[in-house]
Amino acid sequence: MRRWYKNLDFPILLVWVALCICGLIAIYSATHGDAQEYLLNTVQRNFQRQIVWLFICVGALSVIMLLPIRLLIRLTPWIYLASMALLVIALVFGREVSGARSWVYFGPFGFQSSELAKVGTLLMAAFILSSRKGGIESTALPMVGVIALPAILVILQNDLGTALVFVGLIPILWLWAGIRLRVVGLLIIFPIAGYLTILDWTIALGFTAVVGIIAWFTTRSPAWVTFGVLAGVITLGVASFALNAVFQPHQVARIESFLNPEADEYRAGVGFHLVQSKAALGSGGWFGEGHMKGSQTQGRYIPEQSTDFVFSVIGEEWGFVGSILVLLLFAILMLRLVRLAREIEHPFGSIVAAGTAGIFLIHISVNIGMVLGLLPVIGIPLPFLSYGGSALLTNTTLMGLALAAYMRRSEFAMYI
């Protein structure tokens, strides 16, 4: 037997360390300095607490690396059930933080149940996909069920953003597990058409027409053309109806404000985040204003800056060059994970690794898209950079599982 660390993927570990350090620096800048005293006492200590969480993560990572994968597979249903139970407990007994009832407390330690549920859900989905007896289409119902359950619970906790992460996993996992590409394509129509409807319904309509044409040339099947066009039209209709008749004005404002954050009706409220965030990024320029020197960061103009808007610290203080470097680290992390996923021979491990990359991709795109004013304000954290122990632990665990699966990539085969 080869020495275990021969198979350990050091590039990912190095990127992980680099990202965590970037996160610590940014959190430090967002919570220290002259204006520190104007932050809430709890926020002032975010830097120190993130360090404590990092130590916990290193411990968790070591345990996960030692975990035999067979045991993990066997435990998966129980992990999933435990996650769901936590979600329910949080929903019933939990404490409300920033509007979401997702926190569970064990003594002084608080966990965000919706974060931890990502691990259980990914493992369960990978379990279903890898242990199926029939064709991949046969997993449709269990997959939807396994993912819809946490998604609905999280929605009940009043955290729509995190629920979208769960739903977003479906096309990614199916793509990797080998479902027909046209199904993946069909699933992707929904979010794109929805986004375009928020921008302008006529664009969404045009997009639907293009979908129909592409569907015809790729499938030559009237049924799939119908599916595609229906997906677009239904999304357009539902989204328009929801924006105009279902959502409360403050919810609509949250969704639409990114289009014109400076408009009077948004400026005082949710648009304020975005105007300030963009101003911070813009004043960064090529090389940034320097650590602890960003006027918007040090002036605390951007709310939630150590958590959801942490990228604006990097944008302002490290500039375009620094921001691109962070994006490159993310690129290495995700592409490397996908690469590992390809190398892992057992489907379970492979899907867990790919799913991990998928979860990171959704978080990174949605979070940075929000900070850059491309997407509505959806409060989900930026992996490894945002302050938040549960998220840090969850993301590190996911990465650890992928690394563990990769370390034992050849061991897997004999159990098939």
């Binding site: 813009g282 320029g285 002036g299 103009y301 691109i324 995700m334 996923a341």
Partner: protein, 615 residues
Amino acid sequence: MTDHRYWLFTFAIGGALLILSLQLFRLQITEQQDLSSIARGNALRDIRIIPARGSIYDRNGTLMVDNHPTYTITLTPRNFDRAQIPLLADHLGVEDSIVTQQLEEAQAWNPYRPSPSFSNVPFERYARILEDAYRLKGVGWETGQQRHYSTNARASHILGYTGEITKAELSSGSYASADTALYRQGDILGRTGIEKGYEPWLRGVPGVARSWVNVHGLEVMKYAQGQSDQPPRQVYDIHLALDHRVQTLAESLFVNKRGAAVALDPNTGGIIALVSKPDYPLELFSGDLSPQAWQDLNVHPDTPLYNRASMNLMPPGSTWKPFMALLALSEGLLGDRGAEATIFCNGYHPVGQGRFFRCLGSYGHQTVLEAIKNSCNTFFFELAARMDLSVFKQYANRFGFGVETPTDIREQTAGLIPDSAYFNNTRSYWGKGDVMNLGVGQGHMGVTPLQLAKYTAALANGGTLHAPRMVSYLVNTQTGEKMDPPGLPDPTPLGIDTAYVNLVRRGMRLVMEEGTGRASQIPDIPSAGKTGTAQAPRNLRDHSVFIMFAPFDDPQIALAVQCENTGDGSRCAAPIGSLMAEQYLKGEIPSSWRTDVRMDRAMTAISQPLSSENQ
């Protein structure tokens, strides 16, 4: 794993990051200018540094006005521990409930920013709070400035008071537009006197400190390490021509009297003293002037806010006779013999239609010199009867009567010198009597003490009119550069033959030595003067008027005094004027019987009170 799914996923990741990178490029590079200007608009604040207001000194360099610090205690509710309310209340000497109330107001305004809650805290209380600062978290302090007056002289009407700029003044734009002195709410500006007239120099140009501020408006750090900050500049200290001891003396002599006195340096026009009584303590305006106090000042029957020295009009009485003499000599009204010519006084002068104007005595044949010494009315009635009214007005204007005086005193009235058009407009019938009255400085004319003093100064210096000026020079507090008060005209000659002026001066010297000014002589210093009695309307006691200059051969001071409703000129105005001159020339009032006489006369004179009936 099929290869194309691997590549699809890879491209999806790459595509997403590419879109983010492009947007990042757009925000940080393409739109950098716009966005960073938004950021600067958010976070850059220019904090003005208001310089200490210039100080005011008297002619000997004695400090009269400067600034003293004021202390304001601030509360920052977010950092303040409510358990410390009793401690703070104890230090401030107020009830706990007042602290609680201020705390709630501060909380409502902004919990993060220090709120100025207790202003004008006495220094001892401020010091106690400072000592306990470690226990009083969230309690801060700001220091401000208020005017402080160091001498016994009130000089209310010269120095003037300051006040906070009003909303109306701010919105009128007249203050905001001058780019040397941008005013904002809460700024102090001069309201009257020197404080107003020299506002731009006393205030200077505020400096600017540029800082990054946080979302709560508090400073985070200096902008560009303070490189672009501008210190305040162009503040001037003002050096007055005023002698604070003469001023103090004159103010004290006016006890129980309404009236005014102006003393000038005849060689420069510098105002040695300017008294207007009653007056008011300027300290009233230093702290928070209560509305009641302001109301009292405004409705007081003796009008303390009114600057009698430059605004009060009354006939000059016999102090007008030197002027008439100069007019007559210059215009040849006395005939070919000029100064040698006589006019016969038998105790009265006919007005016509069987009426007569009385003289105080029957002086017989009078030359100009004798007529001035004796203050013979008949002589000057006759001169007035001989003169052309338009020439009279022209001469009066040339001496500075009936026109505004070029000076750095802002509030003044031009006075009244009638001509035929004036009588035609105001009277249905007028005649010789009205004109003759003007010859002795009575009737339809009004002059201010300032005008009389300026005229006296011209007599003193041989015929040159100097613009009366409060300010001798200004000194830039940073550079030490000296500057003359701006906007004052150069001295102008009266254009009267010096021989005539000297004749009149001799006449005025005789007044002091042998005439009505005898009792008001300055021991050991020859002087020249003229008393006057101005008739007051409505059966009130006459006004006492006096002009004087000294020493006779090298005049250093020329003055005019008006006492309202105190009787004739030798009784009140003359002793006051004489004592002022002596104080100025000797630096003290040595005790002597002459001092006792003058003091007694000056102090016992009382202005007949104004009641609502005789006003």
